[in-house]
Amino acid sequence: MTSVNAATGDQETREQLSDVDLIGQASQGDARALEVLYDRYSRVVFSFALRIINDQQIAEELLQEVFFRAWQQGGTFRSSKGTFLTWLLSITHNMAIDEVRKRKRRPQRSDSDDPELVLAGVADGGPSVEDEVWSRALRERIARALDTLPDAQREAIELAYFRGMTHREIADTLDEPLGTIKTRMRLGMQKLRDQLDGSEVGLE
């Protein structure tokens, strides 16, 4: 019983640790430290992956790969370059976009390539997790900021970030000049930055 209590206490102690401390411990082989990080962020990672991939099973596989990669390569995380969560989401984005691009090379059901699904997702509801960084309030604020953009700018950003398209591919898809797409992205991101200025609490 004593050892059980001690183990429970150890885990409770871990839960008080910062992300940086936890990934440091995980990179030294402490799987329980990674477990705390998983409990903190698995939903964020999964939600993001699902948003890009639009397939529950593949998003779950990707979630596992993201955390396995964090386990194996957590020693390369640099807190000077951003938060652990930003790092984790960057890995998620890269892996998810890889998957999207692979799927593009394979025959797909046409509904998964419908841009309307991506754009509609901004306003999707879902279970509110108020204590999470990605709470509904934050999500809605980002969605509102995105909604202030002209449709063409928002579309360019969405196709790039959530569809994994290069700006050349976007130009081809929309039948617009490449320079126009670049300009839309630049103006859109600048406006989004202005709209979200001061919203980054907890993100960086």
Binding site: S27, V44, F68, G75, S80, S90, G121
Partner: protein, 342 residues
């Protein structure tokens, strides 16, 4: 953009055998020994610090930066942005701002909860991953593990320039179809890293110790170029890089010295059977021989570790050699004691 402040400085210490910490380039615990100033000519500026509003490498790249932050650039465009931002403060600031904005986009996703099975599967896999590679053939990271846990590694120092350099350690598994498939899947790989790999591959001759040598410490894995993965920010493989501590940095007394070139050595694939293997880094010197960096290279159970040290004076362009710790360790780095790789 690496700076050498705050938590980064923690990397300049590594745990010693007794669990205490010793300072880089000092084999003793206690008061840090001042790091020697080097007379290494600085032939290019610190590569990751923007130094001016203008740029020596072409026009500003503001039209490409949003695409960079959103992951929408082709490889050559991405490389152009990275090169330019290294030297252009204006574009570096815009890039940082834009990436910060892009980093908020994931939170647009509607909340969703994964199946509990994912966690169970993940941690079962993690538990299994600590066993030797031969028993974990089913996972895609198998290529990243040594086929034999006790092989050799030499790393090209090739360092007449203090600029960044990158090398990779791989194993015999690098020849496997699984690894080739994994490499093809690495869409996030950084072009500068790949280019550096290609150049360094010219220097690298994988070599093994005679396995019959009962005295010398064994080397640990077989070097090959090209095994790495990168996110936008991080090279996830063995990387060495030179860091010139600039005058505007905040060097910690006794560990970093302004104007001195430090090398950062990241390794992986060095996992051994022992609970916490300890390695040492041997630097080839002009005129022959090796200088052993006193700070041990501590490698975790996953086979990864890192150490930062001052580039020794008179370091040559030969190959850095990593061995197990031991009095005769750097003897095994001598070319005439090495046999060609199988």
């Amino acid at each position: 953009m690496s700076d050498l402040t705050g938590q980064n400085l923690r990397r300049f210490r590594s745990r010693d055998d007794d669990g205490g910490y010793r300072v880089a380039n000092d084999g003793r615990t206690g008061t840090p020994r001042p790091i020697r100033r080097l007379d290494v000519p600085i032939t290019q500026p610190f590569p990751m610090v923007a130094t001016a509003e203008g740029t020596p490498s072409g026009d500003h790249v503001e039209d490409l930066i949003p695409g960079y932050a959103l992951g929408a650039l082709d490889a050559d465009e991405k490389l152009a942005v990275e090169r330019h931002a290294d030297y252009c403060a204006r574009c570096a600031r815009f890039l940082a701002d834009t990436r910060r904005t892009a980093a908020m986009l994931p939170y647009l996703a509607a909340p969703a909860t994964p199946s509990p099975d994912v966690k169970a599967t993940l941690f079962a896999r993690i538990a299994q991953s600590s066993v030797p590679a031969a028993t974990t053939q089913a996972d895609e990271f198998a290529w990243a593990r040594p086929v034999s846990p006790r092989r050799s590694v030499t790393l090209p120092a090739s360092g007449s320039q203090p600029g960044s350099r990158t090398v990779a350690v791989a194993t015999d598994a690098s020849r496997s179809p699984r690894r080739k498939r994994s490499l093809r899947q690495m869409a996030g790989i950084s072009i500068p890293v790949l280019l550096t790999f290609s150049l360094l591959a010219l220097f690298v001759v994988p070599q093994l110790l005679p396995s019959s040598d009962p005295e010398g410490p064994e080397l640990l894995t077989l070097l090959n170029a090209g095994t790495t993965e990168c996110t936008d920010d991080t090279a996830l493989a063995l990387v060495t890089s030179s860091t010139l501590v600039s005058a505007c940095g905040r060097p910690e007394a006794g560990t970093l010295q302004s104007g001195v070139v430090h090398w950062t050595l990241y390794v992986n694939n060095l996992r051994d059977d022992t609970p916490q293997p300890m390695y040492q880094v041997n630097i080839p010197m002009v005129g022959g021989g090796y200088e052993t960096i006193a700070t041990p290279l501590v490698v975790g159970p996953t086979g990864s570790g890192e150490v930062i040290f001052v580039r020794p004076e008179n370091a040559s362009d030969g190959q850095i050699c990593i061995t197990e710790r031991g009095e005769n360790a750097n003897l095994v780095c001598q070319p005439d004691t090495l046999a060609p790789a199988a």
